[in-house]
Amino acid sequence: MNITNGLYIKKFLRRLIPSLFTLLGISLVSFMLMHLAPGDPASMMLDPKLSLQDKALLKHNLGLDQPLWTQYGHWLGHVLRGQWGYSYVSGKPVLRAIAERLPATMILSVSSLTLILMLTLPLGLWSGYRKDTGFDKTVTLLSFVGMAMPTFWLGLVLMLIFSLKLDWLPTSGFLEPGLETSSFWEQSVAIAQHLILPLMTILIGSLAGLTRYYRFETIGILTQDYIQAARARGLSETRILFKHALKNAMLPMVTLLGLMLPELVSGTFVIEYIFSWPGMGQLGISAVFARDYPVLMGMLMMSSVLIIVGNWLSDVAYRWVDPRIS
């Protein structure tokens, strides 16, 4: 028991240490990028009429007059102690500002990820199985078109059709004002209504990649001996496709999901912005415009941690689903 525990800890550390270095690297790269840029937040955020003296004072207060390395050291030291600074715009502590945005982002990303996983697998399997038929060709065409559309534009078009023209769904936002105190059920329905359009936008853009991938995998898998052997045993086609081919096709999915995460994270940013979805993405983009350094640093670090952990989890999941890797 102790030996296996020790082994796990060793394995864990072997993964953790490089990840920590990666995070350190990310923080350094992002910090330098932001602070080397011409212009500074003091001149951005404040009244242009402010006197030079006051500006200098403000810069001093924000620590912006010190050499870059010192600034970075300061920032790192604070972060390691759990102090991520305060938003230049709202004055809230960075972690709190981000945490406030987390639920909305989680709702959007978890629901879209779940639907992507649930829809792409059967679509890809079936179009691989029915290769070159009408079904396959339709799916292929639609996925290519979905992949080629600028997501923000797709979101705007959907908004135009379903909210402005047909008036079926709310244009944007999360919860109508006045509903904050209503019952959980009413709130959920309202949020779900607001969720439909952003969700559809994400789905149309992201179904394509995985579906194509599964199709390709399935075509390869169906030529394998073990599929022929399963047929030779008289198993039904459904069983062959949805048991024997499916699990094999699913294996690389976990890795793929890990690789897709960064894109999914950035993609969600723009969607949130368009639909005024009060998530991390919207916060991020407004922080970009306001040069809110502490928030931007926090966001970058957070999303990187998310991506690294995602990759990590997908590795673990891979070991778990593929019996050949122990």
Partner: protein, 324 residues
Amino acid sequence: MSLKVENLSVSFSSGGHTVTAVDHISFEIPDKTIVGLVGESGSGKSVTAMSVMQLLPPQAVLSGSILWKGQNIMGLSNTQLRSIRGSEMGLIFQNPLAALNPVFSVGNQMIETIVLHQNVSTARARDIAIELLQKVQIPDAALRLDHYPHQFSLGMCQRLMIAITLSMRPKLLIADEPTASLDVTVQAQILTLLNDLKEELDMSILLISHDLGVIAQNCDEMLVMYLGKLIEKGKPSELFKHPMHPYTQALIAAIPSPFSKRSEVTHVLKGDIPSPLHLPSGCRFHPRCPKAFALCSEKEPRLEPVCGREVACFLATEATSNSR
């Protein structure tokens, strides 16, 4: 008569070319016999096996008939075929590891098959699976059931395949090069196992191999294939003593024997097996045949009965008609 193949032809067309892999072959497999099918790779052996199981890819074009217990199974729907596959005919492959799904445990795949064919509960199927593993001499059967295919040696995998196939109690077992990927000692074990099981279960076996030794030791009847054609068929004992077709002669002469010196090997075939895209005219073997004469490149010899066997060679048929 359990299996009767008549005038079977299989061709594949891709990119404007049509390749005929099997060309008008006919043979029978009587009950409780082992029929061997020999030939070089590319001769159409495996395609023949797969067409008997009706497992060729959709782009394959088949003609002729395959009668199973009097019923033509050619062109039956997948659903209809499912009642024949497994329960009537079983198939084992050249590479047993590739024939087992790598992501499911061996037990999972066995139990799935047993439940389907014997209509028993999963728990009962597990017991049956353990018995079967013991029957094919896999030690620690109960434990090994939960292992995955990659945890078994190739020889063990072939035993597993045999066990899975036997669980369906087929009347005909098609074994496509069942020992080609195995070590010599393991080969012998697998063949003995197959022979024992054949006796026990009253099956017939279609044994496909490029190894004449394997065929000679195990079969009641042997078929020799060259480029999609059957060129000689008869009892192995007779064919070995007096091969009539020059190709059969060459195959037998090429068997290395510890007592023959290298210089004594007289019949080494010239060249490679021709591409099926450009089949030779007349007898397909004539470009490589040491005894070919003018007629061979013009006319195709037919498989004709000669002295209790069948041969497709002008030399053989001529010799007998002269002596008559």
